[in-house]
Amino acid sequence: MSLLKEPDYGTPPKPGPAVVDVEIDGLPVTVAEGTSVMRAAALAGVDIPKLCATDRLDAFGSCRLCVVEIDGRRGTPASCTTPVAPGMSVRTQTPKVAKLRQGVMELYISDHPLDCLTCSANGDCELQDMAGAVGLRQVRYGYQGQNHLDATADRSNPYFDFEPSKCIACSRCVRACGEIQGTFALTIEGRGFDSKVSAGAGESFMDSECVSCGACVQACPTATLQEKTVLQLGMPTRSVVTTCAYCGVGCSFKAELRGTELVRMVPHKDGGANEGHSCVKGRFAFGYATHPDRRLKPMVRERITDEWREVSWEEAIGTVARRMREIQAAHGPDAIGAISSSRCTNEEVFVVQKMVRAAFGNNNVDTCARVCHSPTGYGLKQTFGESAGTQDFRSVAAADVIVVIGANPTDGHPVFASRMKKRLREGARLIVIDPRRIDLVRSPHIEAAHHLQLRPGTNVAVVNALAHVAVTEGLVDKGFVADRCEGFAEWAAFIARPEHSPEAVEGITGVPADELRAAARLYAGAPNGAIYYGLGVTEHSQGSTMVMGMANLAMACGNLGRDGVGVNPLRGQNNVQGSCDMGSFPHELPGYRHVSDDAVRTVFEKLWDRPILADPGLRIPNMFDAAVAGSFRGLFVHGEDIAQSDPNLQHVTAALTAMDLVVVQDLFLNETAKFAHVFLPGASFLEKDGTFTNAERRINRVRAVMKPKSGKHEWQIVCEIATAMGYPMSYTHPSEIMDEIASVTPTFTGVSFELLDKLGSVQWPCNPQAPEGTPVMHVDEFTRGKGKFVVTAYVPTDERSTRKFPLILTTGRILSQYNVGAQTRRTENVAWHREDILELHPHDAEVRGITDGDTVRLASRVGQTTLRAHISDRMPTGVVYTTFHHPVTGANVVTTENSDWATNCPEYKVTAVQVGLAI
């Protein structure tokens, strides 16, 4: 594909049907009310010259290049700020406007360096294009006058430069930072000729509030804001549309290449999840994909103390197959299993679970989604009948009250956060339920109506109290409940009990009762109330209960089944949703169907020609227990670093050491590979061909930008292992794997690569009932028929602060890094986050004699680590916080074996700890 340039209609679309008829240069066009003349013209196929306008931003009307004449009107209005009127007749090319435009361009060019031929943006510069478009032939004003040509460049950002001499003060960057990203880092300082773009009060980009999302770079019509890679490598010449492999937002990108070299990743305007926006990770942090630390050859060793030996693919695959079978022969068919990855494509995950079920002959497959969102699957299935979030991301634009529970979207899901912030700036109210004062609580032009700063581990008590207020104050949507739900009476009787009142639980949760009541009234009384939640909900001993508690609350208030409402998980890794959909849990076949269901098993047994066990397999923590006990001895770990990301690392390492065969497939020799006997080099997302499914159930295509550097596709390697074990598996293309998925999964029957290429993306369920997918679920009825109210009793966690461990540790993530950081640490993103930091309250610091920046010892009953302290009042007293991006810190060295009662999702969010100065 050549370089893909999406059309720019100049101003954003207006909602509503096309009803206004106008004529542009004699061409008729019908557009929605409120549409600008500029956009109407573009739709009619007439491009009006423009500089300050772009269709991602509201019209601004500053450059005056877009002037037109309108019959019956005086003057030359700017077409970007003039809305159409019925019967309007517009002329875009007249001697009068041509002269005006030339005058405008002349002024711009007279203060612009004339180094077009050597400029990095040559060929991709709107100023250059416009000079041509308006027919500029001469510049009467020389450089003698005042100009900005020697303004100094700001190269502080690791990914893009700011070259003010080229700036035309169109303020597109300033508006992009505000309107799209919502950070408001940039301003135009000064007036008239003196006006210039500035990142905060004379600060550099790096010292400013800038989060390096790239929206300004994208919006800049000149080379003023330019990616460093373009400066180094030159303008790209072709594009491949693909999907970001970092987080569950699933942004679409154009990978732009020059020859075979990847120059930059540019967010794709047609991307359903991101609609042209991005964050620093997807936009810039792709350098890891070609990092020299990558291992490209398969390696084998007898013992984990031996040196690695590079071998051929044949030998590596043969070794895995032979030793897996030997283990089964000696210790039984259940002695081996696999862990699949939520970073891999749907197709890769599908073949891994197929290998386990058909070739290994057991159900010992689990996914790292276990450690993040398994309670979501369980809780939403119990209540609504489907293990997935209810809405598309767009839906937030219709929410009146937004509840954010245990999630930090500005850091964890930045592109979705930008959508949410936009809605909040438009006036939607915000309730934050989190022990930590996340950025969203108070950010530019946003202030939460309520921040319920609960004690970690008391989520269920809080959600029950919210529901108590709704039920006892008559705020229930009786019509919705009567028509669409079951189990209400029993649940309402339970929740109305006095022990669930905000006053009764205040002592447990630490949330003032009147604040909680006010928040409940706000949510329950809203026309549209939407709940968004993250790992702060799931990674608890009652994670599943909390998911059901939120579902109860949403049903009671009638907040389901339309735009602007819903219960929505913000997924961590890019393909958490997809890897769960694909049958990676030991008790579920693809499509969340239990292995004990004979009819479902029969479908797969017929297709795969192997019996499938009705007994659920081992979950990840059970695999470790069984390994320590000696009955589980061979493990295939696909693209995950369990020796870093799983809780209670001592136990994990003991389990890994006890096994006869650990196979690791990854880009890097990660921590888990230290315990491996076979290392299989993986492919980066730039080398993959397949699909990812994001948090809104959107299936996006991942397209290969380059050939796999290891010489093999990951799905191919898995198939070859299965084949070498005596169960032939082969596909010529990943689209065939998707076809197989579609043939056995009712929610996927309509999905194919062909459809995805045609529509761009599709949200499952996609089947004959919904041939183009399902943006909002449970519209007329719930997947399970009636929505089910489930009684959610609060059970305190066993993990409690004690005299020895008086503080509670909770964990999270930050914007620039990603999970265990294997990728982001290998990019310039380290400029923002060099190490994990322990945040603690000034009071807790003072009594321990800790000052900001001190190195401290963090200890729990299972282990200890050291890290640097940051004093912050974001946390309440008694609670400390850290991230888990760097292996040296090993924050999971201290987290415990406690887990969600229903799914064993680890309780990362509550660990009793002590903190002291390291000596």
Binding site: N363, N364, S541, H651, V795, A902, T903
Partner: protein
């Protein structure tokens, strides 16, 4: 802290989360959950704990195990 008895911890936790129910219902819920989600390796270790005297096991778990085994 011991991993040898993680089945005990997990089973007791499931029972604790059903404690709001009348005992018979709690037993049924715990039995149903273990039957549906637990692997045979875990179940057999839990049965062994029951057979060894059920020390430290929630009585609801013990009854649930009886029900699954019959």
């Amino acid at each position: 802290m011991s991993h040898v008895i993680s089945e005990q911890r997990m089973a007791n936790q499931i029972a604790a989360n059903q404690r709001h129910l009348p005992e018979a219902d709690a037993v049924a819920a715990v039995a149903g959950h273990i039957d549906r989600f637990w692997n045979s390796f875990l179940r057999s270790r839990l049965y062994a704990l029951v057979d060894a005297g059920a020390a430290g096991l929630d009585p609801v778990v013990v009854k649930a195990v009886e029900r699954i085994r019959t």
